[in-house]
């Protein structure tokens, strides 16, 4: 059986016609295309993937809690998508370059995000906390699909530098309808750019089911652009790792772009501002709870006697510690000085900004003078 898409494939919401190495019950099954990419993945490595996913879920839970407690303005939960995010990102080399979207909490975790990096943007303190060049990861993109083109352009730069790096574009099923994503595939194919597209099909673009975006599996579009693709079980971390290793190798060795559709499910709302009970069935959500990606790898490891409660407890402690650090980062965040809103609009001096800075600075100083007057009991100006 092949997982290369053919016109006989089922609809875009299909969840069975996917490449898979672990059944939902955690049974390891063979796949002739994927097996070769994970032969080195031993129990220790699998426990590492488990740990990553538990940490990401814990950060995600903390993010929701912090929003509910008024510490964050918004949070986009990634629960249910941990295997897709961790599996694909763990396949990357440190010097590959990721272009994630806003929901890719697990990707930025794997790429080395610090606790503050998870929350300060959602708190409204910064648009971006980490330097993209430190993590080899672009700022998480909010405009749907725009980053796919950036990843292709970055890959065009890699080509010109004669480097063997690869860039990775992360986007969702909703973004697959955007012109930018389709143009990205045209450019990538045309130039054979070393880029991997990772489309997370989590079944929902806010309230719109994937069937509004696609009448055929999204992975099936890529070959039409001249890009080989694979449709993979996005709740199977081992399959996600294997598929991405295949795709990265394909791109790294000069064969041009590759495309992965990871079929998963957004267990939570689109963001903390969303109410998914208005548009989807409880039964559907429950059916996906039984396909939980973390339980799946735990079942595999337990079945192989490579997992015990002590390990689970250690990981849970690590996760709690990370969550505490995340909470601490949010609660102790200090808002920048008002005048800094004018920083970094331009890289070079700009007369218009200089003028507004001079005015705004003087205006702010006027308030400072008023405060001095208030403290000393003198009349304000």
């Amino acid at each position: 059986m092949t997982h290369t898409l053919t016109p006989t494939a089922d609809l875009a919401s299909d969840i069975e016609d996917v490449a898979r190495l672990l059944t939902p019950d955690g049974e390891r099954i063979a796949d002739p295309e994927l097996d070769r990419w994970v032969q080195d993945v031993d129990a220790s490595a699998l426990r590492g993937l488990y740990r990553d996913m538990v940490l990401v879920r814990r950060v995600d839970t903390e993010g929701v809690a912090l929003q509910r407690q008024g510490q964050l303005a918004l949070w986009p939960p990634c629960q249910g998508q941990e295997a897709t995010q961790v599996g694909t990102a763990r396949a990357m080399r440190a010097d590959d370059f990721a272009f994630p979207s806003y929901r890719e909490t697990g990707v930025v975790h794997v790429r080395g995000a610090k606790p503050a990096d998870f929350v300060l943007a959602w708190r409204g303190e910064e648009h971006s906390t980490y330097n993209p060049y430190d993590l080899h990861t672009a700022t998480q993109q909010i405009i749907i699909g725009a980053q796919a083109l950036h990843a292709v352009g970055y890959a065009m730069g890699i080509q010109r530098d004669r480097s063997d790096q690869v860039s990775v574009a992360y986007f969702g099923d909703g973004a697959s309808s955007q012109g930018d994503v389709n143009e990205a595939m045209v450019f990538a194919a045309s130039y054979r750019a070393p880029v991997v597209f990772v489309c997370t099909n989590n079944h929902w673009a806010i309230s719109e089911p994937v069937t509004v975006q696609a009448k055929f599996p999204i992975a099936g579009r890529a070959p039409g652009f001249g890009i080989p693709s694979m449709r993979v079980d996005g709740n199977d971390v081992l399959a996600c790792l294997a598929a991405t290793r295949w795709a990265l190798d394909h791109a790294r060795t000069g064969n041009g772009p590759a495309f992965i559709e990871a079929v998963t499910y957004r267990m939570g709302p689109h963001t903390t501002s969303d109410d998914p009970t208005r548009y989807r069935d409880k039964d559907e959500v429950e059916s996906w709870r039984r396909r939980d990606p973390i339980a799946r790898i735990e079942a595999l490891l337990r079945g192989e006697d490579e997992f015990d409660d002590a390990f689970a407890a250690t990981v849970a402690e690590d996760a709690d510690a990370l969550a505490r650090d995340v909470r601490e980062a949010a609660m102790t965040a200090t808002t920048r000085e008002p005048i800094t809103v004018l920083d970094h609009v331009y890289a070079e001096p700009h007369s218009g900004i200089d003028e507004q800075r001079a005015w705004f600075g003087a205006y702010l100083e006027g308030f400072a003078a008023d405060e001095v007057h208030a403290e000393t009991g003198e009349a304000a100006r």
Binding site: F97, P132, L149, G157, E183, V345, A347, G352
Partner: protein, 337 residues
């Protein structure tokens, strides 16, 4: 000094920028073998190869978005948008990404793109080939916007735009592509006036006429015609329309006390509106008359046979000059708003 057309001056600017900096690359539609529909990139692919002179798929958002990625990687892409009216598909990438990435990343990522746009009307072109979209970009912080009016500026300001670490939208008036002028190709860019400075194209004492791009020549013709009438017009070629060099502008207005702005673009919320608002804020007590705008009508660009009735010409400029001087004009006795 060399006599060059503006088209050739832009071509030389690209050639020398590419020769000086291996990170500069040029991308756009039909710019390779064809040399671009206006031949601005003529010969560049032969000289620098297809990796640096990149024929792109016909997708403006794709061109702009991949240029963003190249800039992320340390390149300095010079993007050619084939015609002014074709820039809109790239608008999202320009406004949300090109203009904001430096701000978003607290200065960690720079976007040294130059976006070249063959621009504006007067060449008898088909629909969507004669537009003046500059106000959209002027309104977008994070971008610099310049418009050139002569071959020397076209050469120097392109070099400066490419060297700038900020994104620059660079407007090239199509109708001036074949206009010739003296160009000093050996000019030291560090010594040349920065692209942010306006130029007093003609000194005068009665009226300040603010303009940019292809209207500069028409403004100068108007000044010559007015001279016969005993009116002295100071013409300022703004060159940069974001930011505007208000030091030069206000010095002139404080001298003349009268302001006319002319551009091809439509009037409503256009560059002229911003100029007059700013001039009024800065020079209110020096003004002797309400500032006037001479612009394209607030209409979609008309069919080519009618464009001369849309484009602000010498007579419409002089009519506005008469208004600021309170001389008989087209509105006298007709229209009192």
């Amino acid at each position: 000094m060399t006599q060059l057309t503006m088209a050739k001056a832009v071509n030389e600017g690209l050639r020398r920028a590419m020769a000086d900096d291996p990170k500069v690359l040029v991308m756009g539609e039909d710019i390779g073998k064809l040399g671009g529909v206006f031949r601005i990139t003529d010969g560049l692919q032969d000289e620098f190869g297809a990796e640096r002179v990149v024929d792109t798929p016909l997708a403006e958002a794709g061109i702009m978005g991949t240029a963003v990625g190249l800039a992320f990687r340390g390149y300095r892409p010079v993007v050619e948008i084939q015609f002014d009216g074709f820039v809109y598909p790239a608008f999202d990438q320009i406004v949300c990404q090109v203009a904001k990435l430096h701000y978003r990343t607290r200065g960690n990522v720079t976007m040294p793109l130059t976006i070249r746009i063959p621009w504006a009307g007067g060449v008898g072109a088909a629909e969507h080939h004669s537009e003046s979209p500059e106000a959209y970009f002027v309104h977008t912080s994070g971008l610099r916007v310049v418009a050139v009016s002569n071959p020397q500026d076209a050469y120097v300001m392109l070099r400066q735009a490419i060297a700038s670490n900020d994104p620059v939208v660079y407007f090239e008036p199509k109708r001036l592509y074949h206009a010739k002028g003296e160009v000093d190709l050996g000019v030291d860019l560090a010594d040349a006036p920065p692209m942010g400075l306006a130029r007093v194209a003609r000194e005068g004492s009665d009226v300040t006429l603010l303009t940019y791009g292809s209207q500069v020549g028409i403004a100068l013709d108007a000044a010559t015609a007015a001279e016969d009438d005993g009116v002295s017009i100071e013409v300022i070629d703004l060159r940069s329309i974001s930011p505007v060099d208000y030091r030069t502008v206000t010095a002139s207005v404080r001298k003349t006390g009268r302001v006319v702005v002319t551009h091809e673009a439509a009037r409503e919320a256009g560059v002229g509106a911003e100029l007059i608002a700013s001039v009024t804020e800065r020079c209110f007590h020096y003004l002797e008359a309400p500032p006037q705008r001479v612009t394209g009508h607030d209409i979609p660009y008309p069919p080519a046979k009618l464009e001369k009735h849309h484009l602000p010409d010498l007579d419409r400029i002089l009519d506005a000059v008469d208004r600021v001087l309170d001389r008989p004009n087209s509105l006298t006795g007709v229209f009192e708003p």
